[in-house]
Symmetry: C2
């Protein structure tokens, strides 16, 4: 069978990938979950028909949602991930030996369960064996409302602002994140494609600037995401990701990162003109 | 009619774009040329079925093949473009008032002719009216063999290393380019996708290092190209693109660039780890 999966990135353009088989297809309380085996990108997880991660290019997203914040904060000990049920972000956090506790708060237990079963290279640290990792199957907003002054870093590893993640792009949520962070805490959130999602970015960065004194955008290339150019919002109470970055600590990190490195950390914040314009204050 | 054009970026993955009509389809002496009207990306030119340029994202490629070299060289006056028959690179060069002459050497006259007719936003400076622009419909290798110590900058705006462009990735060609450049000259050449074309990059950068004392890779994101992550080789006799870059001159450039800017110039050379590894010497 010649099976191709096509994701429309807009009404008029998409990516198409040859697949060999479906490993799982089912509906949770929150969304449709599919895991396909593709020829070029390995196993691929889709939520409501949108590509979330693939085995071949997940290293970019997970390096870049994690390491810029964890190498800007001088000593992150307690980290919260909202979303990220595939486990890739937790895997990267665990590479930092100074982190004492990483909490994963994912709304959809089925995503965690199927990732452990079918995406072990990502879910390797969320299978219950690592005492530095705690899982909560819960709504991120409800969870964060109950925590004050607790986390050094919060990573918002969400889907697009449709469906269950819509609240994660609003000012009220960022106020809860601000309160849940310690006095020198940092939040990073995925912030869509500068090429396709200018309006979402404008609104999201406007909301963040109402709450955090330091708000910067940085970029990464993710082949299976719309346009290939993706972005992250870096929102911080005290540390600036470029001016306060300790390049030597990042250089001597002692573990391999296939995308992130101490030079790229700085380069990622140097944006194309049109991306700057999307979030001009 | 619901018309979709799908380009395979490898045997197993591709991009698919909704088109409304074909504006031109024909065969030259060298290749198959098609120009389609797409909904998302405007007019799109294909050579042998591969996307060369689209109206919506061509600004990235043309900014990035042109301005890094022209803002690294302190006073470029004479510039040669090999390939680039759509005219977009010449258009960007013409924004530099210090350039006295830009020569376009394109092997395929049909590409020039149809670009002038159907892609006027790119071909606006190659229609014969600008006395600072000269066109040669000729093989780039033959042309460059006849020139010595002539150009400040040579931009190799080629197709992939298959078909007519294959010679443009070889050491013999780079020796001719070196000879055609003045003693402080710079060459920039498109150098494929770090994500899909590791082997081509390894060979190409190895060849360049046999010839030029300074060889660096830089990156740009181009949504319609394979993986979205594209690269350029910067090969130079004297000026280093980061250490010798005059940021103030680039900042005060006096014209708008939708992708390039003086910060991005530096950031573009800060590469992901896997891209560095492709060209590790």
């Amino acid at each position: 069978m010649d099976l191709w999966y096509t994701e429309k990135h807009s009404e008029n353009v998409g990516i198409t990938l040859k697949a060999t088989r479906s490993l799982f297809s089912g509906k949770s309380e929150f969304q449709q979950l599919d895991i396909l085996e593709t020829v070029e990108y390995g196993r691929m997880m889709l939520l409501d028909g949108l590509v979330m991660v693939t085995e071949r290019d997940e290293f970019v997203y997970h390096d870049m949602i994690t390491h810029p914040a964890l190498f800007t904060h001088p000593a992150p000990k307690k980290v919260l991930v909202i979303g990220g049920g595939d486990g890739g972000t937790i895997r990267e956090i665990m590479k930092h030996p100074g982190v004492e506790l990483a909490v994963l708060c994912e709304i959809d237990g089925l995503v965690i369960e199927k990732s452990i079963e079918l995406l072990p290279s990502m879910a390797c640290e969320i299978d219950g064996r690592n005492p530095r990792v705690k899982l909560h199957v819960d709504d991120g907003i409800a969870y964060i409302r109950e925590h004050r002054d607790q986390f050094d870093v919060i990573l918002v590893d969400s889907t697009d602002p449709i469906g269950p993640a819509v609240g994660l792009f609003e000012e009220d949520f960022y106020r809860l994140v601000f309160a849940a962070l310690k006095e020198d805490g940092i939040m990073v959130a995925q912030s869509e494609s500068p090429f396709y999602h200018a309006e979402i970015q404008k609104s999201m960065y406007g909301n963040l600037r109402q709450v955090f004194p330091i708000v910067e955008m940085y970029q990464a290339f993710i082949p299976t995401y719309p346009s290939g150019l993706w972005s992250f919002a870096f929102a911080s109470k005290k540390y600036h990701p470029v001016r306060d970055f300790d390049r030597a600590r990042a250089k001597n990190r002692g573990f391999y990162t296939k995308y992130y490195n101490e030079e790229l950390h700085l380069g990622a914040f140097m944006l194309p003109t049109f991306a700057r314009e999307n979030i001009a204050g």
